[in-house]
Symmetry: C3
Subunit: 317 residues, 3 copies
């Protein structure tokens, strides 16, 4: 089957999902991102003229100031022109179809679309539709994928752990509704992480999740034992009002990451979270702000990773 993410030369054409991306592409992105970060990993990311004259459109059918901001900053650091569109509140309400909207933006000579949409598959649909000189980055589609988040997580893991082939990684929380978890699992397995665990109550796990190559734990203490990396997930508030969970307190008791539970992991285990955090629900403040937390470096690396993806897609070959 055709992988719409790669062109006929096997180069990245769109970034839609970490699923189906070969490890050489993942490593290429991580290596390019490294070049934007200084050795200490927290220095200034310099503005470079690599995408000067290029037009990048942030098309957000679903509102997300934070994610949109990270892409906007990445694009501006590359000297591209950025146009932000909240499509939800505009032409779609005028009866125009999604693909007509996209065609119009293409005709304005976009070089790249960064797409966030509540429907799974929206970015794929757009990618299949546009001309070959236009590139699409999926900034989150429904429950499907959020590949730049997974890539910045991989960058962070490599930054602190150096290698992937000897790691035990646990993903904790609302797996079933999480596009982040899906994208993380595909990236981790492709990069050769030998043991990926998911830790969640049954109501927050997709059926047959083992088929993705992960080990399932319902007990957090067991699941965290001897892991190198803990990837926490955000618990959407709306889940707590539904049937999936009894209460926020009970969730925190069983699946909230505390210092006590974290002590079961390896001594040098790192703790990650895609943000925004619900302190006291999925993560205790002492852990979020603790010595093992690399949550803020994730954000910094996220800019570098998004710059790397944009450069790879739209830069001169």
């Amino acid at each position: 089957m055709n992988n719409p993410q790669l062109n006929k030369h096997g180069e990245l054409q769109h970034l839609l999902s970490t699923e189906g991306l070969p490890s050489r592409i993942l490593y290429d992105i991580l290596d390019r991102a490294s070049a934007f970060v200084d050795e200490a990993g927290h220095g200034e990311i310099k503005k470079v003229p690599l995408l000067h004259g290029k037009s990048i459109f942030n098309i957000f059918f679903e509102n997300s100031t934070r994610t949109r901001t990270t892409f906007e900053i990445a694009a501006k650091r590359l000297s591209a022109d950025v146009v932000n569109l909240n499509i939800g509140s505009s032409s779609s309400s005028k009866g125009e179809t999604l693909l007509d909207t996209v065609d119009n933006l293409c005709a304005m000579h976009a070089d790249m679309f960064v797409v966030r949409h509540a429907q799974s598959g929206a970015a794929h649909l757009i990618a299949k539709h546009v001309a070959p000189e236009i590139h699409v980055i999926n900034a989150g589609d429904g429950r499907h994928a959020h590949p730049t988040q997974a890539l910045l997580d991989m960058f962070t893991i490599r930054h602190y752990k150096k290698e992937f082939h000897n790691l035990r990684v646990a993903i904790v929380g609302d797996i079933i509704h999480s596009r982040v978890a899906r994208s993380q699992i595909h990236a981790l397995t492709t990069l050769g992480v030998p043991e990926v665990r998911v830790i969640a109550p049954k109501t927050l796990l997709p059926s047959h999740v083992e088929q993705l190559g992960v080990r399932v734990f319902h007990n957090m203490e067991e699941g965290l034992r001897d892991v190198d990396v803990v990837l926490m997930l955000r618990l959407q508030n709306e889940r707590m009002q539904g049937a999936a969970l009894p209460s926020a307190q009970e969730y925190f008791k069983n699946y909230g990451l505390t210092q006590e539970k974290l002590s079961l992991a390896k001594e040098d285990a790192i703790v990650m979270h895609p943000g925004p955090m619900n302190r006291g629900i999925e993560i205790d403040s002492s852990v979020a702000d603790g010595a093992q937390s690399v949550i803020l470096p994730q954000v910094t690396f996220g800019i570098a990773v998004r710059m790397a993806v944009m450069r790879l897609l739209a830069g001169d070959k």
Copy 2:
């Protein structure tokens, strides 16, 4: 009478309406726009430093993401600084008058205002008020005018038909509510198109429309016969709920552009639409996506035309 669009040297001072603009100004804009488009007409529009250091304010009292985006892109391709203001939701609700808002923005050293307003005449009012070094582009005022849309239509017509003096052009649809139609009619007649037709039911035509120099048709089959250019108009959804129209289905039957009706026009006739389209209401999808449609090139040319207008108004003489 004084034409506020021209300065005392007869140069363009503001672009408020195609009415009253001499043909030499129209041709100047079209020629300058040509220079921003490559010969094939669909290549990349390069970023140029012509308005570097200039500040362009998009003041939108009426929301329109699409139109605002085209001006924003045009300004950025000229290297201007762009500030977007949705005034509707801001100071006007704080009791400030329109002209006080404008005075404040002028005092911030704007070089150009791009104004969209629901009231006819708003852009004129602003243009008459500002200091001579500030230029105003009307991006649509009420039912009055939308000159950059008409200019990009003229550019598109010339691109495909080369000349204006031997053309038969039909404008189809909701003429009475359309600022686009008004601006098209003035531009077409000024550029010497010998026959401009309007095709619409009586309820969607202004009284005495013939005085604008157009031929009136109520029957679409008759009106399309042997035309070179078909300019479709968008049918606002709200019209269909009013008394003006019996139903969307009936409108499509009588005034929707189908392949069958289009076959009555000249074999090489082109089809245009200002967008966003209501497929299946004013235009059939097979026509919108068909070989005679130049709807997407219109969008591309729209960037070049807006760059040309901005350059003409605010660039160094």
Copy 3:
């Protein structure tokens, strides 16, 4: 006590309030702003590359298109990259704390935050929290302070009156709710203005206002007598519906600035207003548009003053 606005070398680290700023800092800002304005005081403010590559985040927890625009323009004139965030409508509604939001933005390598917040002290809280290489400008916090407004007022006064040490200045209107008035009083007294008056009904004056070093007047005719500068305040509409004021008409009669009342001030007195104005409520149109009004120059100088503050905080030393 530690002044968080100054670093250990006594240089400006954050601009949070005019209270506690030494006069040498105030003069430094005014002098730097002068350099951005031409001699006539109303020429073009040129774009300069002083902050090229720097990222400035406008974080507005409270909506204010006008104030946000002035900072955006100032930043763009300095060639900085500007990102606008309306936080009110975004992550804070996702349960994230203010400081987590700030930490995230810091991790994206912000160089400066421009903060507007409905809570007094919000900008202080952020300034105390961020790393030393990040600078905070308070763009208005609750009823507390709006220092750039006060600084542009000082710039305007100096522009027209040359010196501060021989002036009589009156601030008129809703003192109790006004962060502008507080910041003006501190700046005026620090710069050596010998007589600062406040003119307001008792219900719009804070108790013990005399302790700020001002003379209190409840009668506008008496208060305006022989002043050099009249600083009008905006009357928030919501005040008029509360218990504080009987009616807009009565307020205008007693405290609205008319030509007649203004004639009691010195012949060359200037009239200022922070905008947006309520014509016919706190100020008569004939005064707002009259020969003594310097309300629009204030806006122009505001860009220069904000550029000066940004340059001082984030520019190379």
